[in-house]
Amino acid sequence: VNGAFGSIAIFLLFVVVGVTVSLLIWRHHQRTRADLDRLAQRDGLTITEAPLGFTADQLAGRFVATPRGDARYGLEFAVESTLAVSLDGTDRDLVCAAFRWWSVEEQTTHDADGETASSYVKVDSSVAIVRLPVDVRDRIVVRPESLVGRMALSRSDHQVESDEFNRRFRVEGDDRRLVVQLLDASAQHALLESFRGRSIELTGDLLVLGGDPSGREPGLAGFVGELPVLRDDLRRLLGVIPPAFWRAVGLADPGRT
């Protein structure tokens, strides 16, 4: 009888813990949703399922910041708005979006007997995208350098003048001259100062910023607190891009875009 009673007690304990955890998650989700609505109203943001017209399926694998994972992925808390910025001395309103991207990564391990085991990890990151008023033509990616690259064991990417920058970032792009026009001395410095550990991708008329934002707004629950900071980061990143880069891609010359 004691054994049966013990089993029932353990079962009830599991049920209580399960219900409590589910309730807490549900409440957190509700609060996050409410904060998202509040933020959208306050900052004039539009809540959307397809940021800049891209669905989750279209985003998956398209950018460094939106990996496909093991084919399980999705986006949450996507908002859209206009961003007032100054590019090459001209004030412009650009359409931008921010959201949280998640994907499930498969990790395979091998034990001493040669047996393989798979485990699955849910990875999520913050993403901000802005539609530029010009087509960049080339694809340029600046992302955190791998451990091998950081130890200077591999240097297959584009190198710039700053050794510290070369250690921290991996730079890819077909047009090497355009890459150095993007990464002048002040851009190298600014990226090292404020965008370490984040990915920056220029492709077509889009600029995509991935990775954890520089902070979060207190008083807003969960990821929603990161949204205002993401927009500020995007604005600062656009300010870092040198005028020579904008001239090279024909920003001031509508006939070329």
């Binding site: 150095v180 026009q181 001239r247």
Partner: protein, 187 residues
């Protein structure tokens, strides 16, 4: 026999390393030459743009002959400094001299609203700045290649290969960023 095999293996390894090190130097020299040709093409383009620019300004500001003459002279000096046997610092000085004169010319244009509104002049000015931007970027690429080459040329043990096969010192090309200077004066 083992000692002989060991020595043979060491010789093969040394020979392999020599070949790899030599070929890397050759590839670096080729990359330096390729990036230099990128600068050379853009410098030529800048020199080619200037006669048209001077002629256009002359149409509006004929009495500013001394400024126009100074630009033409500076261009002639820059063109004369382009042959391969002219040392790089001398070429750089000539190009910087041309940049100075172009800056004077573009400053002069500020006082001629009709000229500033001339579409032909605006196109030429924009082409000039874009060409100068490309010169600045090509110069950085060239200097990056030279820096990587010089680092290897001075490092142990690749400095041995450099001295055995006479891989000579390459100089950086240092000129001012004329594009950044002239972009502020874009009409």
């Amino acid at each position: 026999v083992e000692a002989l095999l060991g020595s043979l293996a060491a010789l093969v390894l040394l020979g392999g390393w020599l070949v790899v090190a030599y070929n890397r130097f050759v590839a670096q020299i080729a990359a330096i030459d390729a990036t230099w040709s990128g600068i050379d093409v853009e410098l030529q383009r800048r020199h080619d743009l200037i006669p048209n620019l001077v002629a256009t300004v002359e149409g509006y500001a004929r009495h500013e002959r001394h400024v126009l003459h100074a630009v033409t002279e500076a261009r002639a000096r820059a063109v004369a400094s382009r042959p391969e046997d002219v040392p790089l610092p001398e070429q750089a000085r000539a190009e910087d001299g041309l940049t100075d004169q172009l800056t004077r010319l573009l400053a002069l244009v500020e006082g001629f609203p009709d000229l500033r509104a001339d579409q032909g002049f605006r196109d030429l000015q924009r082409q000039l700045v874009e060409t100068e931007d490309r010169i600045a970027a090509s110069r950085r690429l060239y200097n990056l290649e030279v820096a990587a080459y010089e680092r290897r040329r001075r490092s142990v043990p690749s400095n041995l290969v450099a001295s055995w096969f006479a891989f000579d010192r390459r100089e950086m090309f240092e000129i001012r960023d004329a594009g950044a200077q002239h972009a502020a004066q874009l009409s």
